[in-house]
C-alpha cells in the first residue's frame, strides 16, 4: 500500500524500477526508500534481534536505530529506512550482526 494523497506532503513518484528481496522481484519507484518499497509489498520483517532472534522491522524511520539493517548487494548494515532504491538492487534480511568483510 502506498499513500497517494496527503494533506501537506506531495509524492512525486519516479519511474518504476525492479528490486529483489531475498531473490523475489518487486516493483519499486525511484525516489522512495528501501523500507517504503518493502512495506508497500507487505514485507515488514527486515532483520532479527541478535540474542533471541526476534523479528525487527521499520521503527525509527530516520536512520538512528538498528531495527531495519539489511544487506544490500553484499553490503551489511544498510539502513533500509533512509537508503533510496536503485534498479536491480538485491536486498536480503540480515541475521545477526553485520559482517563488514562481506562483499570486499
Amino acid at each position: 500500500m502506498r499513500i497517494t494523497e496527503h494533506p501537506i506532503l506531495d509524492f512525486e513518484r519516479g519511474p518504476e524500477i525492479t528490486i529483489y528481496f531475498e531473490g523475489r522481484a518487486l516493483r519499486a519507484y525511484e525516489g522512495e526508500t528501501i523500507a517504503a518499497a518493502l512495506h508497500a509489498a507487505g514485507i515488514k520483517v527486515l532483520s532479527y534481534s541478535h540474542r533471541l532472534g526476534r523479528p525487527r522491522g521499520f521503527f525509527c524511520a530516520v536512520g538512528n536505530c538498528a531495527s531495519c539493517l539489511v544487506e544490500v548487494d553484499g553490503e551489511a548494515n544498510v539502513r533500509a529506512c533512509i537508503t533510496p532504491v536503485r534498479d536491480g538492487m538485491r536486498i536480503s534480511r540480515q541475521r545477526g550482526k553485520g559482517d563488514l568483510r562481506v562483499g570486499t
Binding site: H50, A76, R79, D99, R101, T104
Partner: protein, 382 residues
C-alpha cells in the same frame, strides 16, 4: 551517633574499589568508600577499556603485568557470576619513524626481561595479524598476545560486590567537601552527608585527585586533561588486537560485543574538568581510520564521549603517603592507564596502609620523586 571508619577511601572508580576489596580481604573492618556519583562514573567508566603490558618504563611494565595476571582470574578470585569480558587477543603497536622503531626495540628488550611475551616485527608481520591494516608506512610493530580488552564497568562491579560482601560500606552520591587534619594527622572526612571520623583516608579520586589532595593541604603536580572517544555499531568479529599508533595518537579496538572503540589524542584538549566532546574529534578519527584502517569506514557511529586523564610529569602514577601527614594515602595520577593497573594497585595500597611489605616496591612512585627530580618518563602513551 558518631560516624566512624577505620579507613575512608575517596573515589568509586576501579582503583578505589580495588583498594577497598584488598583492605577488607586482609581482614580490615569498618572500611568506608565514598563516591561523588555512582561506581565508575569518572575516568574508569569513560576509559578505552584496553589493558596492556607493553610499556616503556620498568615500573609500568611490572604493574601492568601483575595486573593482567590478576585480571586473568578475576571472576574466580572475586566469585563474580558474570564474565568481565576479557578479550585477550593482544595489542599491536605501530612505529612510523626510525626513531620510534629504535624506542620500540628498547621497550621490547625491557618488556621481555620482565617476562612480557612481546615480539618485534616488520610491516608484513603486522599485516598478518591485522589483515585490514594499511602498513605502507609502518616501519616496525610490536605485538603482545596477552594484552586486550576488559569491560571497565563489570570489572569495577566485580570488585565492589566482593568488597561489600567483605563488609565494606560503599556510599554513593556522597561527595567529600573537606579533610580534617590535626597536628599532622588525619582525623576525618567532611561530606555532603556528614562527617566521618577516621584515622586514615585514601585519595583515589582519579581526575579530581588534586582537589582532594588540596583538602588535606597536599599539593600534587598533576592536571586533568580531556580525551575523547567513540563507539560504533557492532559487527562480526574482524579485528583481534587493539591497534595503537603513538605517532598518530590513535587507538582502535573491537570489543567482544563487536563494536569498535576508537580514540585520538589532541594536544589542544582542555586541561580542566570538561567532559564534553566535539565534532572535530569525529573528523580526526575518520582521517586516521581512512589512513590506517579504511576497511572500517563503513561503520556507523553510535556514540561519542570523553573522560579525563589525571596526568603526572612522568606519566607514572603517584602511590604512597606523604611525609609529615599521618594517615593520608594516595593512588592517583595514572595518566590515562589507571584502569589496567587497578588490580595490583589495590593490593599494593592495602599492603602499604596495613604496614605490610608491598608485593612490588613502589617507593620510587612516591610524591617526593618530583622534588628530587628523579623522573623516568613513560614514552608509550596515547
Amino acid at each position: 551517633m558518631a560516624d566512624t571508619a577505620s579507613v575512608v577511601i575517596i573515589g568509586g572508580g576501579i582503583i578505589g574499589c580495588s583498594i577497598a576489596y584488598n583492605l577488607a580481604e586482609r581482614g580490615l573492618r569498618d572500611v568506608v568508600l565514598v563516591e561523588r556519583q555512582f561506581l565508575a562514573a569518572g575516568s574508569t567508566g569513560r576509559s578505552g577499556a584496553g589493558v596492556r603490558q607493553q610499556w616503556g618504563t620498568e615500573m609500568n611494565c611490572r604493574l601492568a603485568r601483575a595486573s593482567i595476571k590478576i585480571f586473568e582470574q578475576l571472576e574466580e578470585m572475586l566469585d563474580y557470576p558474570r564474565s568481565i569480558e576479557f578479550k585477550q587477543e593482544g595489542y599491536l603497536i605501530l612505529a612510523f619513524t626510525p626513531a620510534e622503531a629504535r624506542q620500540f626495540e628498547a621497550n621490547v628488550r625491557l618488556q621481555r626481561s620482565l617476562g612480557v611475551p612481546v615480539t618485534l616485527m616488520d610491516a608484513r608481520g603486522a599485516k598478518e595479524i591485522v589483515p585490514h591494516l594499511v602498513v605502507d608506512r609502518v616501519v616496525a610493530a610490536t605485538f603482545c598476545p596477552e594484552d586486550g580488552h576488559i569491560n571497565p564497568f563489570l570489572a569495577t562491579d566485580a570488585y565492589a560486590r566482593a568488597a561489600r560482601r567483605r563488609g565494606v560500606d560503599i556510599r554513593l552520591w556522597t561527595e567529600v567537601t573537606g579533610i580534617l587534619v590535626n597536628n599532622g594527622r588525619v582525623k576525618g572526612v567532611h561530606t555532603n552527608r556528614g562527617f566521618i571520623h577516621c584515622p586514615v583516608v585514601v585519595n583515589a579520586a582519579g581526575p579530581y585527585s588534586q582537589l582532594v589532595a588540596a583538602m588535606a593541604g597536599v599539593d600534587i603536580p598533576v592536571y586533568s586533561e580531556r580525551h575523547q572517544i567513540l563507539v560504533t555499531e557492532p559487527v562480526q568479529p574482524m579485528q583481534g588486537p587493539m591497534v595503537i599508533s603513538f605517532h598518530h595518537g590513535f587507538y582502535c579496538q573491537q570489543t567482544p560485543h563487536g563494536s569498535f572503540i576508537m580514540g585520538v589524542g589532541d594536544p589542544h584538549e582542555p586541561k580542566d574538568f570538561d567532559v564534553g566532546h566535539s565534532w572535530q574529534f569525529l573528523e580526526q578519527v575518520c582521517a586516521r581510520v581512512r589512513e590506517l584502517l579504511p576497511g572500517l569506514l563503513k561503520l556507523h557511529l553510535v556514540r561519542q564521549w570523553s573522560g579525563l586523564y589525571n596526568i603526572t610529569p612522568d606519566a607514572q602514577p603517584i602511590l604512597g603517603g606523604v611525609p609529615g601527614l599521618e594517615g593520608y594515602w594516595m593512588a592517583v595520577g595514572f595518566s590515562g592507564h589507571g584502569f589496567m593497573l587497578a588490580p595490583i594497585t589495590g593490593k599494593i595500597m592495602a599492603q602499604l596502609i596495613l604496614g605490610e611489605q608491598p608485593e612490588i616496591d613502589v617507593s620510587m612512585l612516591g610524591l617526593d620523586r618530583f622534588e628530587r627530580g628523579e623522573l623516568i618518563r613513560e614514552p608509550s602513551v596515547v
